[in-house]
């Protein structure tokens, strides 16, 4: 069964239509990238999946059940910025998810539970390449390291889907390609289901196992708000996570 099903979803703000008639099935383990020009509604779509906003029509099912209309631990997220807590060290940032789960009243773990969580958090930090930055505050980390930390933090709760909202948009090109390798590596190892928005076509085709293009097809010059964006292309690139060795720009991108 599909992990995520979107059935005829519409999003309207008053008279303004943002998304129209979006339908989508995503299998568990897929890496889906959504591209579209800025303002085309891809962030709105992600926010609906996140539970931050609610669709006006249609439904979204996660594992066959309607999506709760508030954010929860079944959906992890990494934003472009403000993704980590500035008042916690890197290690605390990664530990805090399990502390929420394990201590409803104090949101802090003690003794053995704390030591175990700490070890898992250290392992996760090492997995994203932040092995010796555990006691640093986010303000002491570079932009790329902050995003690594945000990913580690999101993965600790083992979310059913991981939502990435232009996570690498603010990074330098070199650091960006490091992050691409990291996220592909994690996707393969941890069998993640990833949903990522981007306005970078190259990035979308390189990372995504499936690329979805959002665009406004119908345009009324007198009333530009009348029609929303829909899925104009849904491209399964059919590249399993084992076949992922092609460098950017060589494979499916040119084929398409």
């Amino acid at each position: 069964m599909s992990a995520l099903q979107v059935r005829r979803l519409w999003k309207e703000y008053g008279r303004q239509v943002v998304l129209e008639n979006i339908s989508l099935d995503v299998e568990s383990g897929e890496f889906v990238t959504i591209i579209g020009s800025s303002g085309c509604g891809k962030t709105t779509f992600l926010r609906i999946l996140l539970g931050e906003e609610r669709q006006t029509r249609g439904e979204v099912l996660l594992d066959g059940k309607p999506l709760p209309d508030e954010p929860g631990p079944d959906r992890g997220v990494v934003f472009q910025k403000y993704s980590v807590f500035p008042h916690m060290t890197a290690l605390e940032n990664v530990m805090v998810g399990e502390e929420f789960a394990g201590a409803p009243l104090t949101a802090r773990l003690f003794g053995k539970a704390r030591r175990e969580t700490r070890q898992r958090a250290l392992d996760m930090l090492a997995a994203v390449g932040l092995g010796n930055a555990g006691d640093k505050y986010p303000s002491e980390l570079s932009g790329g390291m902050q995003q690594r930390l945000a990913i580690a933090q999101a993965l600790m709760r083992r979310p059913r889907i991981l939502l990435l909202d232009e996570p690498f948009g603010a990074l330098d090109p070199g650091i960006r390609s490091d992050m691409h390798e990291l996220i592909l590596d994690l996707w393969g190892k941890l069998k993640l289901t990833i949903f990522m928005t981007s306005h970078d076509i190259k990035e979308s085709f390189y990372l995504g196992g499936r690329v979805i293009v959002l665009d406004r097809v119908r345009k009324d010059p007198h009333e530009p708000e009348l029609y929303g964006a829909r899925i104009t292309y849904d491209l399964p690139l059919r590249r399993g996570r084992d076949a992922r060795t092609a460098p950017p720009g060589s494979g499916a991108e040119t084929a398409v």
Binding site: L50, E52, E70, P71, G72, P73, R75, G76, V77, F79, K81, Y82, S83, V84, F85, P86, H87, M88, V96, G97, E99, F100, A101, P104, L105, T106, A107, R108, Y137, P138, S139, E140, L141, Q146, A150, Q153, A154, M156, R157, P159
Partner: protein
């Protein structure tokens, strides 16, 4: 010649420039005082620095023959006690109500209009009500301070909470945080340093209300003393007292700033925000 806006004094010169107005004011005072005293050695309006120092030393060391108390310390203790109680209560109110009104829409809709109206009432106008309702003891003075600064602190904290990036609150929810956990681990730690900043700004008003209340009804306290000796034109008491109050206010402000810097090293680093 560079433009005036591009000329910057060096460090040593900066300090000298900062000290200059103080030196001028002091010199002007000394000259004016000397001129008046030359005309009339019993002049009370502009006492000499030596006379003020002597009076201050007497106030700070000489025990009252009946009670054995030293005036300055009794006054300082009484005033600071009132100020601390008023400020501490205001901070607690401000933190609790600021956080829940800033974070929980239902509470915000319920309490926000009330807080807005309360903060519009001139606190000194309710002082008579406080005296009537609570008597002229400590309680009414502390309540006046609370009435004067708690709404300000509450609104400031509320604003800080509303300014927290929505991404942080969403992220915490995707990590499974309940409202309570969100407050405990995300909102409170980030708002406490801002609470201390708001308190620093409110301290000036707190002193104002304290001295006003003491001037009207008290039996000891810094404000009480100033207004008491005013009747005898005792400028040699009033001026050192004003300087002493200023020093205390400055020390409190400095202490709050130090607490912020030491206890919240991430605060003000800024880059992560």
């Amino acid at each position: 010649m560079k433009r005036l806006i591009n000329l910057r004094p060096e460090r040593g010169l900066s300090i000298a420039l900062g000290a200059l107005p103080f030196v001028i004011v002091l010199a002007a005072y000394v000259a004016a005082s000397a001129a008046r005293l030359a005309e009339n050695p019993d002049d009370k309006l502009l006492p000499s620095l030596a006379k003020m120092a002597g009076t201050f030393e007497r106030l700070a060391t000489e025990e009252n023959r009946r009670t054995g108390e030293v005036l300055l310390w009794v006054d300082t203790g009484a005033s600071l006690m009132r100020l601390f109680m008023g400020v501490a209560i205001s901070m607690s109110i401000g933190l609790v109500f600021g956080v829940i009104t800033g974070l929980i829409p239902y509470v915000q809709r319920t309490l926000s209009p009330l807080v807005k109206v309360l903060s519009m009432i001139p606190p000194l106008a309710v002082l008579p009500i406080l005296f009537i309702a609570l008597g002229v003891d400590e309680l009414s003075k502390v309540v006046l301070i609370v009435f004067g600064i708690a709404p300000f602190i509450t609104r400031d904290v509320q604003q800080r909470v509303e300014e927290l990036p929505v991404e942080l609150l969403i992220k915490a929810q995707t990590l499974g945080a309940s409202t309570w956990q969100l407050i405990l681990r995300i909102v409170l730690p980030q708002v406490v340093p801002r609470l201390l900043d708001a308190t620093r700004l409110a301290l000036g008003a707190a002193w104002l209300f304290l001295i006003a209340a003491e001037a009207i009804a008290a039996t000891e306290g810094l404000g009480y003393r100033i207004f008491l000796v005013r009747r005898f034109l005792d400028m040699d008491v009033i001026l050192p007292y004003v300087a002493w109050i200023t020093l205390l206010a400055f020390a409190l402000d400095l202490a709050l700033r130090l607490v912020n810097r030491v206890a919240f090293p991430w605060y003000g680093a800024g880059a992560a925000r």
